[in-house]
């Protein structure tokens, strides 16, 4: 028994990961219903966003409430680039995503450099202020963004039956990228540095940990994924407005998912997104009319914070560890 468990521990995670990945790859092919693929694609989007947020909010302990601004910048960059171009085969807009991700990250670094002079609570407020600044710019720089009138992108010429698939796989690729980053960070010295920063930043600085470089790198990595997700979202909707592209509720959604699943863990954000995102879509579709939707959402939030403040995975892991210790 013990040996079997040991072997599971060595190979289990990899196998489970592969099986999960295979299920996600096959999903849109096996499931023909477009609405399910749509639910899947938004779930993957949130999983990628939550994993990306986790790099900053979880590993480094800097709870950014401004990530929706980078999502919006990615969305606007994509939309503005393509608004007067034709999509051709429809795959072109996916290829502009990597440069957009990098460009937005380049903008994010100086912002983070300023914002990260402050800690936790103030940092959260500064970043949400930044979000409002970006939203105001999206409204006011009419020449560039179209202001409140929004920007249109070319509509993808994919066939209706499989219209969602390219977007789905783009989001899946982003999730994998975010997970690869997470994994890479955890297993590199950067992860060590970030955990040190989260624990005691001043102490980390005093023992020569390159605190600034570590924080900025994590932030930049996180923004790359966030901005690209914004780009895919914009292309999928084909029309964006400032208040939807740069939406504080998107930031809050990322935070909720990460907290629900478990901060600073590799799989926690994914778990959180896989629970919350479909539930949110389904509940609104099914029970939204009852008006109690917001109240239910608030209640869920409070329960999570009070019952498992560290998130589902760490709480679960503790249970298992305690049970094994007893055995």
């Amino acid at each position: 028994m013990r040996r079997r468990l040991g072997r599971y521990r060595r190979y289990g995670p990899g196998l489970a990961g592969l099986a999960g990945l295979a299920a996600l790859v096959v999903f849109p092919l096996a499931v023909s219903a477009p609405w399910l693929v749509t639910v899947g694609l938004f779930t993957l989007m949130y999983a990628a966003l939550a994993s990306a947020w986790n790099l900053v909010g979880g590993y480094a302990g800097y709870p950014s409430l401004g990530h929706a601004a980078f999502f919006g910048m990615g969305a606007y960059a994509e939309a503005i680039w393509w608004t007067h171009r034709t999509a051709g085969s429809g795959y072109g807009p996916f290829w502009t995503l990597p440069p957009i991700g990098l460009a937005v990250a380049a903008v994010a670094v100086p912002v983070a450099w300023i914002a990260m002079r402050t800690r936790t609570d103030v940092f959260a407020i500064v970043t949400i202020t930044f979000l409002f600044v970006v939203q105001t710019l999206a409204f006011n720089l009419r020449g560039l963004t179209g202001g409140a009138q929004g920007v249109a992108m070319p509509v993808a010429p994919f066939t209706p039956a499989t219209f969602e698939r390219p977007f789905y796989y783009a989001m899946l690729a982003l999730l994998l990228l975010a997970l690869a980053m997470s994994y890479g960070v955890l297993h590199s010295r950067l992860g060590l540095a970030l955990t040190a920063v989260r624990g005691d930043e001043d102490k980390a600085r005093s023992v020569g940990v390159p605190v600034g470089a570590a924080k900025l790198t994590a932030f930049a990595l996180s923004v790359v994924v966030t901005a690209m997700a914004g780009g895919v979202w914009a292309y999928y909707l084909s029309f964006i407005y400032p208040q939807f592209a740069i939406d504080p509720l998107l930031s809050i959604g990322m935070v909720l998912m990460v907290f629900l699943g478990g901060r600073g863990t590799l799989w926690g954000p994914v778990l959180g997104a896989f629970v919350v995102a479909p539930a949110q879509q389904y509940l609104a579709y099914r029970f939204g009319a009852s008006q109690l939707y917001l109240l239910a959402y608030a209640a869920l939030f409070v329960v999570v914070m009070l019952v498992m403040p560290r998130g589902a995975l760490p709480t679960l892991r503790d249970r298992i560890r305690r049970a094994e210790a007893r055995a």
């Binding site: 609570d121 959260a124 500064v126 930044f130 600044v133 109690l292 917001l294 608030a298 914070m305 009070l306």
Partner: protein, 292 residues
Amino acid sequence: MHEAVQAVILGVLTGGVYALMASGQTLIFGVMKVVNLAQGALVILAAFLSHSLFTAWGVDPFLSVLIIAPLMFALGAAVQWLLLRPLHQDDAALLSLLVTFAVALGIEGALTVVYHTDYRTTRPAYVDRSWRIAGYQVGEVRLAAFALSLITLGGLWMLLSRTRFGRSVRATVQNPVAARLLGVETARVAALGFGLGAATAAAAGAVYGMVYSFNPNSHYDLISRLLSVVILGGLGSLGGTVVAALVMGVASSLVGALASPVWSDFSFFVVLLAVLLLRPQGLFGARLRGAL
């Protein structure tokens, strides 16, 4: 010139109302290091209660504060006691941010169920009256609102500086550990502090309901401004908050009148970010954070 002076007058009056709204926020931060994202929702809740009292029984909005403030106090104390106190200490700052956001959502949801999303205004008979002072129009309601803000802020200051409760609060603000050792029951002080912060929202809400139109979503517009005021004022400093609120009121009003209102919030946010760049502790932040 005339426009600029009129804008400054308006800005000061508006700033007074924001000072009142933000004073509760800064008090709550000072006592508990909790960034209360529900403060805007509490103000809107109070605005609805005051509106209902006025439309149903004709209670004057200014008098309604006397009825609403105790209710809000109880609500605030309950939020702290039931939702914030049990939070895990290590992450209290971050978790409380999320819990208070959930409270804001909850209040918004409840208000939507009861009142729907139509805009409302509380309209006592004097709401349209205004005085002409040296060629400038000054609304009576705004002046009264400003006066109420001053009175409430003054009362708050008296309470903090002259009473035993106030001393406990200030002790908790400056050093919670030492305060506990000296026999201050910090959990109770925190609940009272949160209650007090919510009670100031009662006054702010009654005023807000007369000066502006509002619906359950209005708290989103409020909260970013309140947070900026509180940070600019140096998190937890009552005097700093008042000054920051006036700065914001005047700046927004001037930019709105002389340049364009689409840039007025923006310019304030940029000022805020610039200040943080130079002085991360805010304009008036004491080195030891949280001197009320």
